[in-house]
Each structure stands twice: as C-alpha cells, then as structure tokens.
Subunit: 217 residues, 2 copies
C-alpha cells in the first residue's frame, strides 16, 4: 500500500472510524457489522467496506469486524500511537486558545514551541512556553524534531509563515487563517475554516426561513 | 429540489465552489470548464458535473460554465447573500478568539449575543457584547431572530448547551467542543475539530518517518 493510492477523502474519514470504534469498545461491543458502522457514521455499508479495503482485509463475509483489532490497525495506519512534536506560530487570542486547548496532548500532539513575529511578544510566555522570534524557527524545529506546525496568524501572513515552516522541515500544517495556502507536494495541509462550516449549514437553514430553495433556470 | 435529496457531502463542497468561482471572477475569467474547476478543487470533472447537476443545468456541453452566473446561483442556494444572526455560548479564551475573528461578519454571520454560565463573566464585555446568563437565552434568541449558535464551552457542557440552543429555536450549531453531540433531525450541526484534522494528517507524515505504512495480515 502506498499513500498515493488512497483518496484523501478516505484518509479524512479514518479518524472518525477510530473514534466510533473506541466508543463501541468502551461500551463493550466486540464485533461490528458494516451496517452498524454505517448507521453510526451516516455512510452506506458499501462505502465503509470500500474505504477499509484500501488497507487490507479486516472483516469476514457475514461475520463483521473485530472492533479491537480494526481500531488498533487503523490507529497504527494513522500513526496515532506515536508522539507528534508540534509547534504553534502566532500567539494572539486564537493562538492562546489553541495552546490551552486540552484536546491535543492526549492524542499525541504536544505543542513544544511557540513563535511570533511581534517583538512585543518576546519574553512573554503562553501555555508554559517562552514565545520565540521567527528567527529561531529552523533551529528549534530541528532540535525538537517538530513535524507539525499550527498556524494562527492573520491571513496576510499565512502563506509566508507556512513557507518558512516548510523550509524548516515541517511537513504537516494545520492552518487557521481563512485562506487556502499553497504547499509543496510532500507537505500536507489542513485548513480549519469555521466560515466554510457555516456556509454549508445555511443551505439547510434556508428552508427554515421558507425561502425557495431553487429558482433554477 | 429538496435538501433531502442532496448528499451532505455535496453541500459541504458548495462553499468551496463559490470560493474558487470568486477567485476566477476576480482574475477576470468569465467561463470555466469542469476540467479547470476540477484542477482547482482537486476533484474529477465528472464529480463536479454530478455535484452541480443536483441544482439544475448550469453548463452547456463543451462550452463550460458562466463563472458569474454559477457563482450567483450557488450563493443563492447556500443563502450567502443573507444575514445570519448568530450567538456565541462560552466566552472563555476560545470564545473570545471566535468573537474577534474577522472572517465572520463579511460573510453575513453577525454575532449579536454572547452567553456564559459562569457568574463571574456577568457584567463583562466581549467583542463589544455584554455577556448574558444562560437564563436570557430564549428571550434573546427570539428577540434577535438568532438562527445559528456557536458553541465554545468545555466538552462536558456541550451537549446540554446545544440542547438548550435547539429548544430556544436555534437550528444551526457550530460546535467547537471535541465531542459529537446529538441534535434533532431539523437541526444541522458542524463540528470544528482540529484533532480530527491532525489525525488525518499523520497518515501522510508517517511516510516521512519511514515507518512501514501497512503491516496488514
């Protein structure tokens, strides 16, 4: 298996599978069918079987999946049992919220360094980390083996900050700026974009308003 | 057309279409083919034609899409030309970052009220809004015609806060807590979950580490 063969949309779904399998395990379910997984994930059983088929043969016809085994395999494929040294760029209000977010560390994402370009931030501390100037980026990334960068800078700076991270050897970017930065092919970027989420929600809310849904030609 | 006929995954993509069409318009492109759209969105042309076919006939065989027309139609379908009165629940660090986020207002999402359950927050102001107790929720939602609630409370409180929002008549929820709350069928929820984004990124970073991608049975 090569990651190039797996559609990104499938990769995006895998963590959801892991989450649902963890819930099943937690409540004592040892076996789950693709029908049951489909109901929990709001997907067709056929789609689930197809998604999983990229990674091997997990289930036996008519017998369902072993919850614990499948969960462990998917966690291994996603690298969720590893530690992922992470850095934060941008320690404004959003950056401070991110560094204090309790959800990262239990999942292996340890923010080990914080950077900002604002000279006024130097000497300050966020989430227990001394804020470093951008000039320290290369050295710190190398010294701490940082592979993921969380970018919480204003839109206008996002592309250049991401460029610097990539140059420093960071190949995973979680971008909070509402722009779509370009990254090289060997880098993976995810954009956290609340406006996109809202904009796909209003489609449904339109009907509450009694607005005509389609006035198509 | 009924929203029930359109797969949610298609609705999730529509705002991206709008964004790309805006970029094309901005640079003076009047016509775009599904091949070009596919290249910009990293999707197959066939998928793009299929997605758009849910909403009508936009393009002519071999002649491409009229950029301005398609953009306006999609904006209309998504309700992006309307104002969407929005409230925030939870004015901690994350809530403060959200209320000061500059991306919401230009897109029609005006945060008109802020709520918190912490008595210490009463009398304080965030983003120009006086923080209100949860007991004011019903009244304020009705008075201001609020249809969207942004939830930035700790995980343990998320489900109950969302339940109260729904009861107050809010049918669109943007949830920042790293949980998967349940909502009634007439309510639409989007979860902003940075951990899920990170977890789907490490799949690719595994290869940087030289880790064996698959040790499947």
């Amino acid at each position: 298996m090569n990651s190039g063969e797996v559609p990104d949309v499938v990769v995006l779904r895998l963590p959801l599978y892991v989450r649902v399998l963890s819930q099943l395990l937690h409540r004592g379910d040892n076996v789950v069918s693709s029908d049951q997984l489909g109901a929990l994930l709001q997907m067709t059983p056929a789609q689930i079987r197809k998604d999983l088929s990229y990674f091997g043969r997990f289930g036996k016809q008519g017998r369902g999946y072993d919850v614990k085994f499948l969960r462990e395999k998917l966690r291994g494929i996603l690298g969720l049992d590893l530690k992922w040294p992470t850095c934060l760029v941008g320690v404004g209000r959003l950056g401070q919220a991110i560094i204090n977010y309790p959800g990262f560390v239990p999942e292996g994402f340890d923010i080990l360094a914080a950077f900002d370009s604002d000279p006024e931030q130097m000497g300050t501390t966020v989430g227990g980390l001394a804020v470093q100037p951008m000039s320290c980026l290369d050295e710190t990334v190398a010294a701490k083996g940082i592979s993921i960068g969380i970018v919480a800078v204003p839109s206008a700076q996002a592309q250049s900050v991401i460029g610097r991270l990539v140059k420093a050897g960071v190949h995973g970017i979680l971008n909070y700026a509402p722009v779509a930065p370009q990254v090289p092919a060997d880098t993976v970027i995810r954009n956290v974009d609340p406006v996109l989420s809202l904009q796909s929600m209003t489609f449904y809310l339109m009907q509450d308003r009694g607005a005509p849904l389609a006035a198509m030609p």
